[in-house]
Amino acid sequence: MIGEIARNFVINFICPFLGTVAFSVLFNVPKRFYVSCGFVGAMGWVTYCLVSARSSAAVASFAGSLVVVLLSRILTVKMKCPITIFMISGIFPLVPGAGVYYTAYYLVTNQLGEAAQRGLGALKVAFAIVLGIVFIVSIPREFFQPRYWKKRWFMRRNAKGA
């Protein structure tokens, strides 16, 4: 049981973590962001796994990209750096690389029905990621700044007091 959990942890957390860090090296991300990049990628993948157990790959990718972009935006405000740094490498575990392969494979082996299914599946996942990113990116910037919430909180308290 414990062995199983540990194994799952290594597969579903350490692996995407290392993979994401590897890609952040390829994108020349500064060293100090490696750990946060890996964390963002790993959390995205964990979400993907949890959701995909109960739902389709597209929905799971949507949920995963929501988490990735949300975490990226929070970290961006916290570490004062461009959001691209976390987002680009964090989104990688969700990218439908397998879909591309299977589409090509079935096309070549003349299983056109399968190919169309895989290709459309990959496209669906890509669209799910797009939606996930657009959703979070469209949230106004103030919502991620602690200052904004502090101000709101004070205003509400003052309104109550008066």
């Binding site: 590897a22 390829l26 461009p82 691209t84 490498s89 690389g97």
Partner: protein, 410 residues
């Protein structure tokens, strides 16, 4: 030549300050409240100093500007004055300076863009115990000159700086809105009000309306190229510092030049990273341990090819089709030669990952989310085509293999 702000041991420069203002207690009046700047020459000697005092409501006054006697006429004074004007243009709108009514000094300030403001009658006779002489004339009234600091920076130069920062951002993988925001921030900091920019996925147009009615426009073509997020981060930090008034135009240009020289990671690190990415993602997508190790090896070799192609500026089509073919060929070879049975898909899927255009894809989505459909579509097509190229490469190799091997099941 370097200019520093002096915050401690201001009295150390007293000797120099006395050259411009011969009475020590007059200097003491503003020395602690004012900001002091010193210009050092290449031999690391202080050649000029000045003190500026800020007085609310957007004004500041240059209280003292002294240049070492033997090095006058070398432009140190005007350099320092220009620096200070630019520095204070962040918080202040007008800079005043009071001086004796001597043609030489007044002329110097007029050349630096100051105009006549008002006169404090009898200032020198009231405040100084000893009569002051400058150029053989006894000083009595103080002439005040002023300068509009919102025009301290040449708008053309500010626009050039903004364009340069934008160019570096776009070249290294910044989003369109980040480029435009940076350009606007930099222009606003230097009081360039009428700016319009139009940024595309591979070009920037910036147009500034100058105070004299002319328009200054520049177009910069920026070819799509590799991603270097460290540079994006550095330019972003610099832009923050410029907006906060900490960095002037000249310094910003120097910093940008340095930023552009930040090298990419060492090639072997990139190769290892590509391998590790391949192995990890292969393992994630249900490949076994052995297949993942093979994906690591294939990923490393693949990236050697990518780096080689980058150095020779091969087209994306070639890099990706050949890359896909290369991966598949290696996977097939390993599958045939390796004594144990290996699954083909695990190795190939893992090794494809370093080719996946994550950057173009994510940036395209960002641009579309910002309603910048033009750049978004261009980048999206760029990303989708790369996917197609990879699929072509993989598919082609698989097809050739299955045909030549007489329909061996893959």
């Amino acid at each position: 030549m370097k200019i520093y702000q002096i915050t401690e041991h201001k009295r150390y420069y007293l000797e120099l300050l006395l050259e411009a203002d011969p009475q020590e207690d007059m200097i003491e009046r503003y020395l602690d409240a004012g900001d002091m700047f010193a210009l050092y020459d290449d031999e690391d000697e202080a050649q000029a100093v000045c003190v500026v005092v800020r007085s609310g409501d957007g004004r500041c006054e240059l209280k003292n500007l002294a240049v070492r006697e033997e090095s006058r006429g070398k432009g140190y004074g005007s350099r320092l004055l220009k620096y200070v004007c630019e520095k204070y243009s962040y918080r202040c709108r007008t800079m005043y300076v009071g001086t004796g009514n001597v043609p030489g000094t007044v002329g110097f300030y007029e050349r630096c863009g100051f105009v006549h403001s008002h006169i404090a009658a009898g200032f020198f006779t009231e405040n100084y115990r000893e009569p002051l002489y400058d150029g053989g004339v006894r000083l009595t009234d103080m002439v005040y000159l002023k300068k509009d600091l919102t025009k301290a920076t040449d708008p053309k130069r500010a626009a050039d700086l903004a364009l340069e920062a934008g160019r570096i951002l776009l070249r290294n993988g910044g989003e369109i809105f980040r480029v435009e925001e940076t350009i606007c921030h930099i222009c606003r900091r230097f009081h360039v009000e009428n700016v319009d920019t139009f940024t595309l996925s591979h070009g920037i147009i910036i147009s500034v309306k100058l105070p004299d009615g002319d328009t200054y426009t520049r177009v910069k073509h920026i070819p799509l190229s590799s991603s270097h997020l460290e540079v994006v981060d550095a330019v972003n930090t610099l832009s923050r510092e410029i907006s906060a008034g900490k960095v002037g135009v000249d310094e910003a240009f120097e910093r940008l030049e340095e930023i552009e020289k930040i090298p990419p990671k060492k090639w072997y690190l990139q190769v290892l990273a590509a391998g590790m990415g391949s192995g990890c993602f292969g393992f994630l997508l249900q490949a076994g341990v052995l297949e993942s190790v093979m994906a690591f090896v294939i990923g490393c070799i693949l990236y050697l090819w990518v780096l080689l192609a980058k150095r020779h500026r091969m087209s994306k089509i070639l890099v990706n089709i050949a890359g896909g073919a290369f991966i598949t060929a290696q996977a097939l070879l390993i599958q045939r030669l390796f004594p144990m049975p290996l699954k083909l898909d695990g190795m190939i899927i893992g090794a494809i990952m370093p080719l996946v255009p994550g950057m173009a894809f994510t940036n395209a989505i960002r641009d579309i989310a910002d309603s910048d459909f033009l750049s978004g579509t261009v980048r999206m097509i760029d990303a989708l085509l790369v996917f197609v190229y990879i699929a072509i490469g993989v598919g082609f190799t698989l097809g050739v293999y299955s045909n030549t091997m007489g329909g061996i099941s893959l």
